[in-house]
């Protein structure tokens, strides 16, 4: 405080308003001045002007006062923000000056479910616009998933919380600090009443800060809760290894992989890496000698299961029996083994035995601990532990059984023992188990503070809500699936005055404003960093050699005796998190909402998945279903589980087991943004499944009843693809769209396999005219359908790169989604357990493009590189090109889909790509902006310039693909990867008999079934 209040102290003013950002100046005088003492000061300084405020404002006085305030606010710009500069280090090179129009890349890390994945964020003039995988990071190796890609929208989301609030009223950070003081005073005496609730924490800095707090406030407790629970795995591994450990899989070393209800390629820590490792052994080229084999035993269709060579579709409760059957086959005790499919299991066991030390059995997170323990026992028996599986300490700071941790918290809250609850992230009001009655217990806590990116369900019921920073806005750190540490460096100053968890902890520790940068840097400087190392870590995005060391461990091979299962009638209910919006935290992310779910292609909501037979059993006949599905409608059902009933839309999925109903949680949000709000007709929102998620059945259980509701009429579903099979009966014959075969057949005759009986296929492309000669580049793409899991990483990457609009559920129902790249999914075989094939379809960039001659205004034309260019500003919108496109990859702006008005979204967009207006056709361009950037670079290189080298241009989809299914390059360069792939015997063009001469071609899907298992 200034000693002399009669003079204006600019220095102090600057300090006070220094960390308020430009856009905030205008909100309120009160906020600007930060409380009463500023007003006092103001009254001292301008007594005559300030005084009337108390009794209403006169216009002139108001104007005078405002102009004075603005003048003072301007003073803030005289100093650099918050004193010390916080240097972040660019990934590739640090130019002398920022070159406008040239993006820079910075390594940082995205946390999800506690674990971080390294990313490279593309920054245009200081605004991050795109996320790429960090090739140096062990969890990414350059690949990304949909969450990572969509996180850029999360950063700019205009619905993010922007101010500290007390029950809806705007407050300031200092108000919160002030309110915290009495709580801390009390805790200093007895800390038992002070509780912190976090999600899973792997961040060493955060962990150290929490531990320091626990030491500071004796008796203080730290609770953890993550609704996408890792408890099963934690407890399973604990019973196998005698402590909380972490299993790191090396799928690149495995010849045989068995999943027990696990979707290891699209779910859980490290799945991007696992997908890459797995696919490395699955790419078949002309000289490939071996291929891995995947057996999936699962209770709902998953991405991993969809590319399995053998898949068993069983009830969730039966997985344990199958695990025991495999264990029994390996001589680990036969109790509880299931007798069904004995031949299948027998063949699998022999395959495992043949591949000692080169096989993996991986259990899914929704399976009970015992299945994890059995899986580890099997892994031990087949020599996987230490070879294909590394056991390390847990990367989590404090691995606990989170369900028990939360249960303790709730018990204490109910007992009145919790005096203050500080929640760092999470949304327990929404996502705590139903039987905890979290809201009721929560109400008994006298001081509740919630740090959260959105003003959500929990924030609304908390005394204090503090807006949380996005990972691209603040400093932090975290560990990867194998324990590797990444420093998370910010790309942009917080857009909305958010605070990081570290800052809240700093406030708890003593009310000192500790910047996250100082905290992270201080931690690492104390833990081995030097200035050089620090710079290198930031540059690389990983802390070198920080992966947790392998533990010499062996899993217990004694298997717990089975507990007799209680069987009750009805359906077995399987509840799991949503593949798009996770536990509900991404509910306000329009990109993820509109992303067709990998297996069902449904957007914007959750549905009850049933097998065709189960649907028949509840009275939903095939014919009615097909008719409704054709019109993108379905019926609803009442799902009753343990006395609670929810009304949900029914969706039939081939490959679901009988009498199993699967539904994803995360939907049905009430607060937290425009999309994540109370459902309405415009905003479907989905159904909240948490009310039937109980602590003893986090992944469901037996005894669900499903009654079809006919009286409610039909329900529209935003599904982007119906259930097309390629059954010749349904589509008039073999269309040659998916070409598939077995590895065995391929080795016998690689060409015959892919030239299946398909009329017109392989005929020479004849023309009266000589073909156009592509003298320079000839851009082309090859997509390997053998390794595509349909994970959607490419779809969102394309959306982010190319500024693609979302259209909303209503428009998806009308079949107007805008994704330039879609993943087609086809079934083959019986609907009980069909083979699934994924086929990403971007523009084929046909050399004989059917779209080009029909455009009356030449808005689409061919480039010398063979690109099928689209000139948006010439397009009048006849849609003839789309009609004539046999691949239907063109997308039309039926309305003004692009958001031209929301300020917050403007800096997000890729400045190299036009935003399309209404009435204009758009489509995949092979990321022409990237091609041109590379060509410009090449031209500048040397006096004559040079040719663009192979690998210099990566399309957004290619870059994102975790399994490296997409290859792009110059076909005219004989040494390029793409040119070589085009020579592969498995290479084929989609609808080649139309003589469109597509530049995008596919490698046929090759599976490696066990010859011992037929059919």
């Amino acid at each position: 405080m200034s000693d002399d209040k009669t003079t204006l102290d600019f220095r102090e003013f600057r300090e006070r308003i220094g960390d308020i950002r430009g856009r905030e100046y205008w909100r309120s005088l009160e906020e600007l001045s930060r409380g009463a003492d500023f007003e006092e000061l103001l009254q001292d300084e301008f007594p005559r002007q300030a005084a009337p405020l108390a009794n209403g404002v006169h216009r002139r006085d108001f104007m005078k006062l405002m102009s004075a305030s603005i003048a003072l606010a301007g003073a803030a710009s005289c100093t650099p923000p918050s004193g010390k500069p916080e240097k972040i280090v660019p990934y590739v090179r640090q130019p002398e000056d920022l070159i406008p129009g040239k993006p820079m890349f910075f390594a940082t890390a995205m946390p999800l479910g506690g674990y971080t994945t390294g990313v490279l964020a593309e920054s245009h003039m200081g605004r991050p616009t795109k996320i790429e995988g960090n090739p140096d990071h062990p969890s990414s190796l350059g690949g990304t998933d949909a969450f990572m890609q969509a996180s850029i929208l999360g950063l700019y989301d205009p619905d993010r919380s922007q101010v500290v609030r007390t029950f809806g009223e705007t407050r300031t950070w200092s108000d919160f600090i002030g309110a915290l003081q009495p709580v801390l005073k009390e805790a200093a005496v007895n800390g038992a009443g002070l509780r912190i609730l976090t999600q899973t924490v792997t961040s060493p800095t955060l962990g150290a800060a929490i531990r320091a707090l626990v030491a500071q406030y004796p008796g203080m407790q730290w609770h953890q809760w993550e609704p996408v629970s890792g408890d099963n795995k934690r407890e399973g591994l604990r019973s196998a290894f005698g402590g909380y450990v972490n299993a790191v899989y090396h799928f690149d070393k495995a010849n045989v992989v068995v999943t027990l209800d696990s979707d290891f390629m699209s779910d859980g820590a490290g799945h991007v890496r696992y997908s890459r490792d797995f696919s490395a052994r699955r790419r078949v080229r002309h000289d490939t000698k071996s291929m891995n084999r995947l057996y999936a035993i699962e209770s709902s269709p998953t991405s991993s299961g969809s590319i399995a060579d053998h898949r068993l579709s069983v009830r969730p409760s039966q997985i344990e029996g199958y695990a025991r059957a495999i264990a029994a086959g390996l001589g680990l005790g036969a109790a509880g083994a299931i007798a069904e499919n004995a031949n299948w299991i027998g063949a699998l066991v022999r395959d495992l035995q043949r591949n000692q030390g080169a096989a993996i059995v991986v259990a899914g997170d929704d399976q009970p601990p015992v299945v994890h323990a059995i899986a580890m026992a099997i892994n031990q028996a087949i020599g996987a532990i230490g070879t294909t599986i590394t056991i390390t300490d847990s990367p989590e700071v404090e691995p606990v059984n989170q369900l028990e941790s939360l249960r303790r918290l709730v018990t204490d809250m109910n007992a009145g023992a919790v005096k203050a609850l500080i929640m760092l992230g999470g949304n327990p009001i929404f996502d705590a188990p139903a039987d905890f009655n979290f809201a009721a217990a929560f109400d008994k806590v006298p001081f509740r503070a919630h740090l959260s990116p959105y003003y959500d369900e929990t924030s609304m019921l908390s005394h204090w809500h503090i807006p949380e920073t996005h990972y691209l806005e603040t400093w932090g750190d975290g560990r990867a699936h194998d324990g590797t540490v990444s420093i998370q460096q910010p790309l942009i100053a917080p857009l909305y005055n958010g605070r990081a968890a570290i800052e809240v902890l700093g406030a708890l520790a003593g009310g000192i404003d500790q910047s996250p940068y100082d905290a992270v840097r201080a931690y690492w400087m104390a833990n081995g960093a030097t200035e050089t190392l620090w710079r290198k870590w930031l540059n690389d995005g990983v802390v070198a050699n920080s992966a947790l060391p392998a533990r010499i461990a062996s899993a217990s091979t004694s298997i717990a005796a089975p507990v007799a299962a209680k069987q009750s009638g009805g359906f077995e209910l399987r509840i799991t998190h949503d593949p798009n919006i996770y536990d509900g935290r991404f509910a306000n992310n329009g990109w993820l909402q509109e992303l067709p779910k990998p297996q069902t292609k449904i957007t914007w909501e959750n549905v009850l998945l049933l097998s065709p037979k189960s649907a028949n059993a509840i009275g939903f006949g095939d014919e009615e279903r097909d008719e409704l599905f054709n019109e993108k409608h379905t019926l609803q059902a009442d799902l009753s589980f343990r006395g609670r009933t929810l009304r949900v839309p029914v969706w039939v999925v081939p490959g679901m087991p009988e009498n199993v109903a699967t539904i994803h949680f995360g939907y049905g949000r009430k607060h937290g943004g425009k999309i994540a709000s109370e459902p309405s007709e415009k905003n479907p929102g989905g159904v909240d499944i948490y009310p039937i998620r109980f602590s003893d059945g986090l992944s469901g259980g037996a005894g669900a009843q499903i009654t079809l509701v006919r009286s409610a009429g039909t329900y529209p579903i935003g599904c982007t693809q119906e259930h097309q099979s390629l059954n010749p009966k349904d589509v008039g014959g073999d269309r040659g769209i998916i070409r598939s075969g077995t590895f065995e057949e391929y080795q016998r005759d690689p060409r015959a396999l892919l030239r299946e009986e398909h009329e017109g296929a392989g005929e020479p492309n004849e023309s009266m005219y000589p073909g156009f000669e592509y003298k320079n580049h000839a851009w082309a793409m090859v997509i390997d359908t053998s390794v595509c899991t349909g994970c959607n990483g490419c779809v969102i990457a394309c959306q982010a790169e190319n500024n693609i609009s979302i259209v909303g559920k209503e428009e998806v129902v009308r079949e107007r989604e805008m994704h330039w790249l879609r993943i087609d999914r086809y079934y083959k075989g019986s609907p009980e357990n069909p083979e699934v094939y994924h086929q990403p379809v971007p523009c084929m960039q046909c050399e004989n493009a059917p779209c080009e001659p029909v455009c009356p205004v030449e808005a689409t034309s061919h480039s010398g590189d063979g690109l099928n260019d689209m000139t948006y500003n010439r397009c009048v919108g006849t849609r003839y090109c789309s009609n004539n496109c046999p691949y239907k990859v063109r997308r039309f702006n039926f309305f003004h889909y692009a958001d031209y008005d929301t300020e917050a979204l403007k800096p997000m967009r890729n400045p190299d790509v036009t935003i399309r207006t209404r009435g204009v056709m758009e489509k995949c361009t092979y990321c022409v902006q990237r091609i041109n950037a590379a060509k410009i670079e090449a031209e500048k290189d040397g006096p004559q310039g040079r040719r663009v080298r192979d690998g210099e241009v990566t399309t957004a989809c290619q870059q994102a693909c975790p399994s490296e299914a997409i290859t792009f390059g110059d076909m005219n360069d004989p040494t390029s990867r793409v040119a070589n792939l085009k020579k592969e015997p498995a290479n084929y063009a989609l609808l080649e008999e139309l003589n469109t001469r597509p530049r995008t071609t596919y490698l046929g899907a090759i599976r490696n079934p066990n010859p011992e298992i037929r059919g």
């Binding site: 008719e627 014959g733 691949y887």
Partner: protein, 474 residues
């Protein structure tokens, strides 16, 4: 003037048949006996020149105005919001916009056929219906023209489809059938308008001479371009008319041929077929005659023109409808046969999907309307019954709309890749636009029958025996 405004049309019917031939052996006349130059002139010009407008006209015109309001609303919404208000989507980029366009354009064809080809073939019976049919052509083309102009995503840039010198130094794409459409339809509209107007000149002069109202006289006078009926005038007139007829004749074939290219040039199964041009032309004539019947039967009744539009006309139109209907039906069967015979999986599926796909009801209705209903015209009793003719014509009107539905969204909605299959349904804005375009058609038609002679007066006079007193020369 001898007549009062609403005199019953002609009371003079002084006929004495000299030879009594049994009636059934007599050819059906193209004009009822007993008319003279004066009675024809009186009768037809009175409809236009009478002072008191019949209530019925007001009712009809009022309805057309209401429909025009619907059209205005539909166009307003379309321009301000976008073509998304229609039911089009990603597999089906065209829907009712193009269906209605082709439907209207098809209807227009009867007018040109009657005026031009029948003129050249010296089919006298055409005389009493040609003016009416030509007007119908013009109005149908006007209604049709709305659709290609408004169906684009950014209609304010439609002028880019015209080859005009521009700063972009860019021609339109001459390989695009839509480009050909621009020429075909604009030529068609121009020639039809000229033909119709030239044919009107002598009658405008008659109206000028007979009009009592000064303003009407001035207006008709301007339209008549100083026509005095001199032999030189007649000579030049006949030459010009024949030339225009010659110009129009290929248009009957070319316009719908080119419209069919919109589909035949594309490679969508169900579109990509070589028989489309003749199939479309026959369909257009078929539709056109059905529409002439639809309009002529009530008009003849309400305006008491039975003497001029006789049963012979109606019967002949019925015959043309039967003949073209058979061609169209043959095309339907050929489409199925070729689909099967091609051995191509996509074509075969298209045939399968036509008949058994989700739009099977449309297809069955199409066969009933266009394939079966016209077969009634084999029977003379039906051909000569206004009620049966009207019903059959209505079937054909609906059937021709269904045909375009089956071809356009019916082919687009399930093409090559099953992943992209979908459904198409018109929205209320699609229907508003369609109903509104009918409003525009009726609006123009009602103005026409009120202010212009709907039957060519001077040509009718040539039908009288007196006109042939000096032989058959023209």
């Amino acid at each position: 003037m001898a007549h009062k405004d609403d005199t019953p049309v002609h009371e003079i019917r002084p006929v004495t048949q000299e030879v009594r031939v049994p009636e059934r052996y007599l050819p059906t006349p193209t004009i009822e006996p007993g008319h003279s130059y004066a009675s024809i002139t009186d009768h037809i010009s009175t409809i236009v020149l009478r002072k008191r407008t019949p209530i019925g006209w007001y009712v009809g015109f009022g309805i057309s105005l209401i429909l025009m309001t619907v059209l205005t609303a539909a166009i307003g919404k379309l321009v301000f919001v976008g073509v998304g208000i229609w039911g089009i989507n990603h597999p089906a980029g065209w829907g009712m916009d193009i269906i209605n366009f082709v439907w209207w354009i098809g209807i227009g064809h009867a007018g040109t056929l009657i005026s031009a080809i029948l003129l050249l073939l010296r089919q006298e019976w055409r005389t009493s219906i040609n003016r009416f049919a030509e007007a119908m052509t013009l109005f149908a083309v006007a209604s049709a023209g709305l659709y290609p102009a408004l169906h684009t995503g950014r209609p304010w840039y439609d002028f880019w489809l015209f080859p005009y010198p521009n700063t972009m130094t860019l021609w339109p794409q001459f390989r695009s059938p839509l480009m050909w459409d621009v020429f075909a339809v604009s030529t068609y509209a121009t020639v039809s308008a000229l033909f119709w107007y030239v044919g009107l000149i002598p009658d405008l002069a008659t109206l000028r001479d007979r009009a009592t109202n000064v303003i009407a006289r001035k207006i008709y006078g301007m339209g008549a371009l100083g026509w005095r009926g001199s032999a030189k005038h007649w000579y030049r007139y006949e030459t010009a008319y024949l030339l225009l007829a010659g110009l129009s004749t290929p248009l009957v074939l070319s316009v719908h041929t080119i419209v069919s290219f919109d589909f035949a040039v594309a490679q969508i199964p169900g579109w990509h077929a070589t028989f489309f041009p003749p199939y479309f032309v026959a369909g257009a004539v078929f539709a056109g005659f059905a529409m002439v019947l639809t309009l002529a039967i009530p008009a003849r009744k309400f305006l008491k023109l039975e003497d001029f539009i006789t049963m012979k006309h109606l019967e002949n139109m019925g015959k043309v409808m039967l003949a073209t209907g058979l061609i169209v039906f043959y095309a339907y069967l050929m489409e199925l046969f070729l689909g099967w015979y091609s051995g191509n999986v996509f074509e075969r599926f298209m045939v399968h999907n036509r008949i058994l796909g989700p739009y099977w009801k449309m297809y069955i209705a199409l066969i009933v309307c266009n394939g079966l209903a016209p077969q009634l015209m084999w029977v003379k009793r039906f051909r000569t019954s206004t009620a049966m003719l009207f019903i059959t014509a209505m079937f054909v009107n609906v059937g021709m709309w269904l045909e375009r539905f089956v071809i356009i969204p019916g082919s687009l909605h399930r093409d090559f890749l099953p992943s992209s299959w979908g459904m198409y349904h018109g929205t209320r804005w699609d229907w508003s636009m369609f109903i509104g375009s009918m409003g525009l058609f009726l609006f123009l038609l009602f103005l026409f029958i009120r202010f212009l002679p709907m039957i060519s007066i001077f040509e009718m006079r040539t039908l009288l025996p007196e006109a042939h007193a000096h032989g058959e020369e023209h």
